[in-house]
């Protein structure tokens, strides 16, 4: 059975190996240069220096390849599910080949087990290798970006791509087995995979581990001013210096947890933002930070001192140290779903379908 599975999987396996080899060459050639650039440009030590941001921008713009590679890591599991998972059983059922294979001296349970194991492990290995290469290659860029939990980055590095690939593959197999037609099964796999992947990213991942809630006294480092929408000028919370942390929310609240009302700021410090050089930002909720003249800085500082008596800043976040626990948890979730789908396949196949 292993021979047959390999024989049928040979061509896709060669294609995938080729793609991985090409990726390895491209990343292997550009990677050392990237590391060299990181070490010599002074980015690693420039923190706080005035021209650091320019350095960072220059460094990142150098690597458009990152966007391409990142996208590839995101879509790879979907491709595996569509092209390896969905046709695995669906094509056999569609062409009636199951009637040949299931009447050889191999039970259909064993047939399914070998197919799932060989192609499933290959899917995980391919995704794992790809992720490993990308994680290594993008190391210098990630150390500059300092946003490991970022929407794209968390799912494009480390362990989770392995879980995604396993899940997408099992979803494809199950869809193929239930739908019995290759093309509809492929579409179902893609849609289902995207839905689950998004649901986990947006609803499950933030709730896996209770976030840390920290209070900060208001000061110039944690608070800026500006307006939300076309509202009046008010105090706005600023990102605290938490490198690689995943910040859920920043709020300015009083002891009872009530948010700071804008009119209070207007009454307490009527001059805020008036002498900032330009008028208030022209609508929209985009936070625009710019250098502020010294006297405006002073007004702000006075205002913060007044408001800071009753108000403080609350930041809810996952610290950087939670990165690996969250990676493992998400991997476990997807592997659990994979096992559940495999179980469904076994149950369905034994139930005597045809």
């Amino acid at each position: 059975m292993i021979w047959l599975t390999w024989r049928q999987f040979r061509t896709p396996a060669i294609v995938a190996s080729g793609a991985l080899a090409v990726t390895a060459v491209v990343l292997g050639v550009t990677g050392p240069h990237l590391i060299h650039l990181y070490d010599t440009s002074g980015i690693a030590t420039c923190h706080g220096a005035p021209d650091c941001q320019q350095l960072i921008d220059a460094f990142q713009s150098h690597y458009q390849l990152l966007r391409l590679i990142g996208t590839a890591v995101v879509v790879a599991p979907g491709i595996i599910g569509m092209f390896w998972g969905a046709p695995l059983i669906a094509r056999e059922l569609e062409t009636g080949m199951h009637r040949l294979v299931w009447t050889q001296s191999v039970t259909r349970t064993r047939w399914l087990l070998v197919k799932l194991a060989v192609v499933g492990l290959a899917s995980m290995a391919a995704a794992g290798l790809f992720s490993l290469m990308v994680t290594w290659w993008s190391g210098p860029i990630d150390r500059v970006t300092m946003d490991r939990f970022g929407t794209g980055m968390f799912g494009e590095r480390g362990l989770v791509p392995v879980g995604y690939a396993a899940f997408a593959f099992a979803l494809g197999v199950a869809a193929g087995l239930l739908i019995r037609r290759t093309l509809p099964a492929m579409v179902t796999t893609l849609v289902g995979f995207l839905a689950v992947r998004m649901a986990v990213s947006f609803w499950v991942r933030p709730n896996l581990i209770a976030p840390v809630v920290r209070r900060y006294a208001l000061n110039l480092a944690t608070v800026g001013f500006g307006s939300v929408g076309s509202g009046a000028q008010t105090l706005l919370p600023n990102a605290p210096n938490l490198p690689n942390a995943w910040i859920y929310s920043m709020r300015i609240v009083d002891a009872a947890g009530h948010p700071l009302p804008a009119h209070l700021v207007t009454t307490a410090c009527p001059q805020i933002g008036m002498d900032a050089g330009q008028g208030p930002p022209p609508g929209g909720s985009t936070v625009i930070s710019k250098a502020v003249p010294a006297h405006a800085q002073r007004i702000l500082s006075d205002c913060i001192a007044k408001i800071g008596v009753t108000y403080h800043e609350v930041v809810t976040y996952q610290p950087a140290s939670r990165y690996w626990p969250l990676q493992w948890s998400e991997l476990a979730i997807f592997l659990g779903l994979t096992l559940a789908l495999s179980g469904l396949c076994f149950w369905w196949v034994r139930r005597g379908l045809s």
Binding site: T95, R99, T103, Q104, S105, V106
Partner: protein, 298 residues
């Protein structure tokens, strides 16, 4: 004589439609059994129940003494060639033999090679490029080389031209003689089976209409022709299968083990094809709500 396939009250339902119902069968070993019936009669369903590809909705089935679907050892005892003789289009002939060798502990590689050689198939050729007849032969080789005790062939010659059909069946018969197999093969054409079968199962309208050894069936059926007569006046041991009447004359196809003594009848033997058609016709009539035979007037 031991039985290879034994079914009691076997039925299979797809949704609300019964593909096979109340099927009771007992195929003895050592025969070449023909399963005949019109398209959609339930032949494929019955065969897939025998090889364990389907599970019955009602009733029970025993194949070689066990219930399908079975363990690997039991799977090895039954060979199956499915309808349309499926083969992997991308795999070569040699790959198919390797597949058979890997999936069957009882695989007879020498037999398989000999057959492929004799059939003149190129081992490097892809199965997708074979002709219908060659593909059927390859599928049969796979089924025979696992050395089964029972061989099930679902419409193996349906897609073959008359010459390939004859060659296939001839080749099959040689293998049967060589290995002492019990074979069940289906067709909707009696002519295909006439030459090779010594046991007959007629399936029509999802039910078994007739089953038995061909010679016994031929010996116990007669065509009676004579002056017009009410079928109710026939002896009670003569079961009427088919009746037709003209103004003056009646023709009956009857089944009886007793000799026909009535001198008014001209008694003729019935050919296998006529016999099968009569039973299929009977099933269709039954379907229409048992129309009285007398109403069939010309």
């Amino acid at each position: 004589m031991t039985s290879v396939v034994k079914a009691v009250g076997l039925g299979k339902r797809y949704g609300r439609r019964w593909a096979l119902s109340d099927c009771t069968l007992d195929i003895p070993s050592g025969h070449v059994a023909g399963l005949v019936g019109p398209n959609g009669a339930g032949k494929t369903t019955l065969m897939q129940l025998v090889v364990g590809l389907l599970a019955p909705t009602t009733g029970a089935i025993e194949v070689l003494g066990t219930r399908p679907p079975a363990s690997p050892a039991e799977l090895a005892r039954v060979g199956f060639v499915a309808q349309e003789t499926p083969t992997y289009t991308a795999l070569s002939v040699a790959d198919h033999l390797r597949l058979g060798a890997h999936l069957n502990p009882t695989w007879d590689a020498a037999l398989a090679d000999r057959r492929i050689d004799r059939l003149g198939l190129d081992p490097r050729q892809r199965a997708g490029k074979l002709s219908g007849g060659q593909r059927a032969q390859l599928a049969l080789t796979l089924a025979i080389a696992k050395r089964p005790e029972l061989l099930i062939l679902d419409e193996p010659v349906a897609s073959l031209d008359p010459l390939a059909r004859r060659e296939f069946l001839q080749d099959l018969m040689e293998s049967v003689a060589e290995h002492g197999l019990t074979v069940v093969l289906s067709s909707h054409l009696v002519a295909d089976l006439e030459r090779v079968c010594d046991y007959l199962i007629v399936l029509a309208a999802a039910r078994v209409q007739l089953t038995g050894i061909v010679d016994d069936l031929l010996a116990s059926h007669h065509r009676l022709t004579g002056p017009r007569r009410d079928p109710r006046r026939l002896p009670s041991d003569e079961e009427i299968i088919q009746a037709s009447h003209t103004d003056r004359q009646s023709t009956f196809l009857v089944r009886t083990d007793a000799p026909i003594l009535d001198p008014a009848w001209t008694v003729e033997h019935v050919g296998l094809e006529d016999l099968v058609l009569a039973y299929m016709g009977q099933a269709t009539d039954t379907d229409r709500g048992r129309r009285p035979a007398l109403a069939v007037r010309r």
